[in-house]
């Protein structure tokens, strides 16, 4: 790790100021950033911790659904979202291990947009809103490919607002080593339709499986999925699974998610 300066602001405004500095980078739970720095793959001059900002912490019901502060750790979401949005709480409770869940945060995960991360599927399937220090971004506009998002220089996530579906479930199939999602499917049924988001599988990061959405909106049952096909050409191939295997997982896990959503 190279040396760096450290700032820990207590308000969003101060954080925005600190992050405007040259070479500054946001630090939330550090579960992605710190290992990268230890390997000397990242060397920010200033780390601006977002975990001391009260407005960016916690889970509560508010306008538009469930508000989760960007610096809220996964473990807190797993516990406090349970009563409001159990599928989301389940997802948070299945990330990494207890240490990762105690430190890693929703904001860090959504900002990082790792193609195998769990949260992006929930954000996209819920049609959530990513709130930043500058604006509100709809989930459909936010995710822009592998590790790429709509966030601009100096912009950071302050909270994520999730509309609460009638029924939902997240089914994750672990990558055997990292235990991130080799493929994960989040199914959310709202009054006006079903949204299905897939993480881990796509060449281009998290995506909506619109064919399944249409079929499930008409008939919310696992049986309708068996009639669909997933085109492997959009899927990722790596050491742990081919595109064809991932395409299969998308289908199998979607069916299971529908069953789990009840």
């Amino acid at each position: 790790m190279h040396n760096f300066d450290f700032a820990k602001p207590t308000t969003i405004a101060d954080a925005a100021k600190a992050l405007a500095a040259d070479g500054a980078q946001a630090l939330s739970g550090g579960q992605t950033l710190i290992p990268t720095m230890k390997q000397r793959l990242a060397a920010p001059g200033v780390l601006v911790s977002l975990t001391g900002i009260a407005e960016m912490q916690g889970v509560c019901i508010g306008d538009g659904g469930l508000h989760i502060g960007a610096a809220t750790p996964h473990a807190v979401v797993a516990k406090e979202a349970k009563a409001h949005y159990p599928a989301l709480a389940d997802l948070a409770g299945g990330i990494g291990d207890p240490a990762v869940r105690s430190r890693g945060t929703i904001g860090g995960s959504v900002a990082n947009n790792d193609p195998a991360a769990c949260y992006p599927s929930a954000v996209l399937a819920s049609g959530a809103t990513v709130v930043t220090n500058k604006r509100k971004i709809a989930a459909d506009d936010y995710f822009q490919g592998l590790f790429t998002t709509a966030l601009e220089e100096g912009e950071f996530i302050t909270e994520v607002v999730f509309p609460i579906p009638q029924r939902a479930a997240y089914v994750k199939f672990n990558q055997p080593a990292s235990r991130f999602a080799l493929t994960g499917v989040f199914v959310a049924k709202f009054a006006d339709g079903v949204r299905v988001a897939v993480t881990g599988a796509g060449n281009d990061g998290v995506f909506r499986w619109t064919e399944a959405e249409a079929a499930l909106s008409a008939n919310f049952s696992a049986a309708v999925i068996s009639g669909l096909t997933v085109d492997p050409s959009g899927m990722n191939t790596d050491l742990h699974g081919s595109a064809a295997y991932r395409a299969n997982l998308v289908k199998v896990l979607t069916g299971r998610a529908v069953t789990a959503a009840g």
Partner: protein
Amino acid sequence: MPKDHGIGASTKRREDVRFLTGRGVYTDDMALHGQTAAVFVRSNVAHGRIKSINTAKAAAMPGVLAIFTGEDFKDVGGNPAGWLINSRDGTPMREPKRPVLAHGKVRHVGDAYAAVIAETVAQAKDAAEQLAEDSVIEELPAIVDMKQAVADPSNRVHDEIPDNLCFDWGWIEDNRAAVDAAMKAAPHVVTLNLVNNRLVPNAMEPRASIGEYNPGTGDYKLTTTSQNPHLTRLLVSAFVLGIPENKLTVVAPDVGGGFGSKIYHYGEEALVLAAAKKLGRPVRWTAERSESFLTDAHGRDHVTKIELGCTKDGEILAIRTETLANVGAYLSNFSTATPTFLHGTLMSGPYKVPHVYVNVKTVFTNTAPVDAYRGAGRPEATYSLERVIDKMCRELGLDPFEVRRKNLLTPDQFPYQSPVGLLYDTGNYQATLDKAVQMADVVGFEKRAAESKARGKLRGMGLSTWIEACGIAPSNLVGILGSRVGLYDAATVRVNATGNISVMVGAHSHGQGHETVFAQIVAEKLGIPDSSVEIVHGDTSKIPFGMGSYGSRSLAVCGTAMTKAVDKIIAKGKKIAAHMLEAAEGDISFEDGKFQVAGTDKAKTFGEIAFSAYVPHNYPLETLEPGLEETAFYDPANFTYPAGAYICEVEVDEGTGKVDVVAFHCADDFGNVMNPMIVEGQVHGGVGQGIGQALCEFTAYDETGQLLTGSYMDYPMPRAEDVPFYNVDYSCQTPCTHNPLGVKGCGEAGAIGSPPAVINAVIDALQRGGHTHVTHIDMPVSPSRVWSAING
């Protein structure tokens, strides 16, 4: 009532008090006055010619104290292979020099070609980065695939070795023609091509070394993560740096696991010693996890074709194997023994097979060195054999249990001279098989399979009956087989004046629990509390000698040396008692901690004898020496032969290909058991590693020799959720006939017996599920592989 102390008691591990409360002292925990930090500059190409290394800029960086390159070590010796193997045609193996730092060429990603010593690790890293930038390495085509390595003589890992072959070994070459004939004549021949997947050892504690040099005395000290401190001292002294053995102390303090990877001497150890001498300050190095992945000796990596000739009713007539075994870029210390004498000699397993022939070609590649890893050669043999027998059962429609029974050696056939050179002293393979069948409720399997089916899962059952040779090893035998060292062990039992005892043992404990078990044995033999016995290990300045811990040898070999030293103590005690009690030595008996004149109540306690040995106020000094301390060396008469039967049940999810091991039953024969709790723990750990190999672990290099599975993001380790609650039994005991404790060794059994049981179970599940085209899947049977096999 189970015993609560001494031999056979499940005494809790005394070392766990320090380990579980954070008071263990590992190499990296030591802070030394004036210490400096070493960081290695490692090749990022798999194969390259070192054109130039410009040290000027790096040397001028803050905190930098010294820089070493391969040039600095070109005149010292190489790190040798411990076994010299001859090829089938009698020519000796090719042994390229393994230098302290790469010189001329780099031969695998991670191969260290320079080292920087600085005041701090961060400074050393900065300078190492600079040095890497200032080094010109011309990349050469990498040799990664073994078949290509042999086929393409133009591209060489070592310029002087034309076909990248270390040797082409035949075992037993004289039997080759007879085996070929038997195979030809066999009514049925089963052929199986398989890969024994390459594994990264992943000890919890990464390798670490500290070199010290005292200019006032000329003494060197190496503190290092070793399973085998005396061997390291020997190699550094006699082969690499030439430091006299009496001027070099090697200390292996608490060591956090090794699984084989810490048996060997590595260049980093020599470097920190040489650097400490140059600087007159301690030099320390601790591997980062990425370095462990790249440079710890890996395990397995065999590509094998096995053929089995049999009758139509499953009597095995002949076995023939051809194996390519990867040794990586350099020969690690045991790398030539592992695929040969620890592998070929086990190829008849626990069966009566008249004809067996094993051919192994060991191949150099631009990958990390490969060497012994828990089980070492024996898991490879067992896997090949148990898989091909399973395939035979399927091809001939035979019951795998019955086929095992038909071919297993029977108790009346011991001692048994195997066709591949071993003399099995004792065993009862039917007993362990019967036990396993009972433990696993084999008759209830169909009902469980139906329950699994109702939950949408395919259930399968797999069996493996295995044997291993451990208690390594008789020096006369291994000498004939090419070993450059003897494989005895040693112990000193020192009775202190106040009657408590320090035992200095050559075995090294890096998780096994020697400190507890060895003390139980000494205490039992002397009739004193376990707590009166302290076990000292891992320090060449304290212990007489030793060949370390590996090959399930600690108790069978070092434990025997210790037992013999205790016997000498008792003999000396009798002498002292005879003097004190004014009786003839022959009339003194020793029992329950008391020396007694036979037929009288005249007696002295062990404590009284000890005290008198050190306060010899009225000793007849011409015939009785003061003091009570004895040393014994023990060289085993034979290997020991643990054996057992393992039954695994799996459930397969057809939709995802995921395999769950839902039950695992082990019926082992380890001979006598000293501490049942520790034996069970060893079996749990071994089976866990075997399940890891079978289900998830693999090591992938791309065609340029980059390690793709170089971190836990991509190298799948088994976790608690991947293993079932093990069902372990060790009640079938045929004590070893040639060591006094009757012990055989239990450390590797689980890793040897379990992989084929898992794979056999997976194939069984798929076959039962109607996927009859799937007759084999190579390990690891990861979800994607199983799914592809089903759908492929």
